[in-house]
């Protein structure tokens, strides 16, 4: 059993591609997405002013606002830039002043408010109610805070299913399973060796991804590390079981690849890895929530972002565990040993 698990690990780490896809890829992905969606606030909004009488005066007033950048443009260019999103709003000076913008774009809505405010004030409008801004940045509200737990879940799913599925089917294709059957090896030991070796890699995966998020983006783990470890172990077991199930009958690598994608793709999209599953129609939500990756992501986010205690995570953890247990038992029943 120990030797089996050891062989699993050796076969894995001697496969440079596999190492990259399991450890390198999620980190590259986190890095890229973290950069693209870094929270710098709305920044300064680009606004166009159509050339005409009084254009430079309007542009100067708008430019004086710390939240706006105004450029004087001819009508055609202004139209083009508005359409391609390079300016959020176009001001046509005159009487009345015309604001041209796409009201479905958040940016444009903000620009409309800001531009109007600045122009009205410049003409002498006074505030009727005294207000005071109280700025606060909520902890864990950045995209990267949302992303890292999702990537962790996705990674556990991917490495569980890939790691287990491919080796099982490869061993079957090479008649290695048949050869093992000719020895007194216990079948359950063979299957358990996968889960055991997954556990070792799990530690590396989790430390790498969480450590990366923490060092580069300051994504902290607010809950206890013990809870986080427990959840990832449970998730990893569950997905290894799922991987065994996927690989239990397939005879060729091609066959199992298709099955793996069938299992993983819907979960990547539905389970709230890159964006919240709350965006799906309400009717779909119960189904989405029943997926193991959804449950795992929810649990991971609850611990990492909200610092939830393990006791409050009964439902998602039960879902993850049930998927794993059922898959493992079914896999053991229907496994093709030759």
């Amino acid at each position: 059993m120990y030797q089996l698990a050891l062989s699993r690990m050796r076969e894995f780490y001697r496969e440079p591609e596999a190492v990259f896809w399991v450890f390198g890829f999620p980190i590259v992905l986190a890095f890229a997405l973290g950069l693209a969606f870094r929270n710098t606030g709305p920044g300064r909004l680009q606004v166009g002013v159509v050339a005409g009488p009084g254009d430079s005066a309007v542009a100067a007033v708008l430019d004086s606002s710390p939240r706006l950048v105004a450029t004087v443009l001819d009508t055609a260019t202004a139209r083009l830039r508005l359409r391609t999103g390079r300016v959020a709003l176009v001001v046509i000076p005159g009487d009345p002043v015309v604001y041209r913008y796409d009201s479905t774009r958040t940016e444009s809505g903000l620009a409309r408010l800001e531009v109007d405010e600045v122009l009205q004030r410049a003409r002498g409008r006074k505030d009727l109610v005294a207000v005071r801004d109280d700025r606060a940045v909520a902890r864990g509200s950045r995209y990267i805070d949302f992303l890292i737990p999702g990537l962790l879940g996705m990674n556990l799913l991917g490495s569980g299913i890939w790691g287990v599925g491919f080796s099982v089917v490869q061993a079957r294709q090479r008649k290695l399973l048949k050869r093992y059957m000719a020895t007194p090896m216990r079948r359950s030991h063979y299957l358990l060796s996968f889960i055991l070796s997954r556990l070792v890699f799990l530690i590396v995966e989790v430390v790498a991804l969480v450590g990366f998020g923490w060092l580069l983006f300051g994504v902290a783990v607010r809950g206890s590390f013990v809870t986080l470890a427990g959840i990832t172990i449970l998730g990893s077991f569950s997905f290894a079981g799922l991987g065994l199930l996927v690989a239990s009958r397939a005879k060729t690598i091609e066959g199992v690849s298709g099955l793996m994608n069938l299992v993983m793709l819907p979960m990547w999209i539905l389970s709230g890895t890159f964006f919240s599953y709350a965006r799906f129609p309400d009717a779909m939500i119960p189904f989405v929530k029943a997926l193991p990756l959804t449950a795992l992501n929810d649990a991971l986010r609850a611990v990492m972002i909200d610092g939830a205690a393990v006791t409050s995570l009964g439902t998602p953890l039960a879902i993850v565990g049930a998927w794993g247990a059922v898959s493992f038992v079914v896999a053991l029943k229907i496994f093709r040993w030759r």
Binding site: M1, Q3, R174, K175, K178, Y180, T183
Partner: protein
């Protein structure tokens, strides 16, 4: 390991089954399968350590490496081994359990003569140490050299069983004469005459010539040459050899060895 179509499989007096009894039986066996490809990325000694771990009692990795003379390759990955070395490793995996009974499935198929002899040596040593070997092979020469008893199978049925000597003796003659004529075809009446000739046991014609099994070569051969001269035909080929299992196989199945 393939479920039986019918009947029961019994090895060393124990039925072949799954579960605890099956495991106890497997402890006593060593099996090499023709089609198994071991994990490429593991080294020779890692593969042996893995197989060793399945058994309650076994050779150490070093012992079994010595048995198959792969000591120099202990750190080499399986993928880098030659065909002969891979085959010896497969046999080593079968030997590691100190088996009473060793199954070898065409262990030398596709190997160069050098590697074949090395494997034969390994098998001989195992036998000399008191082990039993069940070997399947396409090479009659191999069976003749290594085996005490040979069963010839054709279309899944045993068609002959005995020691190599007995099987060869069953031909009823100990020499084989092969010849071919420059003129090509051999007339039917020539075949008849050959059949009647003294000392000739059987005549078989093929596309490449005629094959006679004869008892007394020193009498049959001059007779054959005289006959051919009398008929005025010329020989393009004439060879004689002691009868081998090859000849037994061909005589029994009526065709040359097929690759099935």
């Amino acid at each position: 390991m393939t479920p039986p179509d019918s009947g029961d499989v019994e090895i060393l007096g124990t039925p072949w089954r799954e579960g605890a009894a099956g495991r106890a039986l497997r402890e006593r066996l060593g099996i090499q399968l023709q089609e198994t490809q071991l994990a490429d990325k593991l080294t020779v000694s890692e593969v042996l350590a893995l197989f060793r771990s399945f058994y309650r009692q076994s050779h150490t990795v070093e012992e079994v490496l010595a048995l198959v003379e792969l000591e120099e390759k202990r750190k080499a990955r399986v993928v880098t081994l030659s065909g002969g070395q891979k085959q010896r490793l497969a046999v080593a995996c079968a030997l590691v359990s100190k088996p009473e009974l060793l199954f070898l499935d065409e262990p030398t198929t596709g190997l160069d003569p050098q590697s074949r002899r090395q494997l034969w040596e390994i098998i001989r040593r195992f036998r000399a140490a008191g082990g039993t070997v069940l070997l399947t092979t396409h090479y009659m020469e191999e069976a003749e050299r290594l085996c005490d008893r040979v069963a010839i199978m054709d279309h899944g049925k045993i068609i002959a069983l005995g020691t190599p000597k007995e099987l060869i003796a069953s031909l009823g003659a100990d020499h084989v004469v092969d010849f071919a004529l420059t003129e090509g075809g051999i007339s039917q009446d020539l075949v008849e005459v050959l059949r009647q000739m003294g000392g000739v046991n059987a005549v078989r014609t093929g596309s490449d010539g005629v094959s006679l099994t004869v008892v007394e070569l020193h009498r049959a051969l001059p007779a054959l040459l005289a006959l051919l001269q009398q008929r005025g035909v010329e020989l393009s080929l004439l060879t004689t050899h002691h009868a081998t299992l090859d000849d037994v196989f061909v005589a029994l199945t009526g065709r040359q060895l097929r690759d099935t």
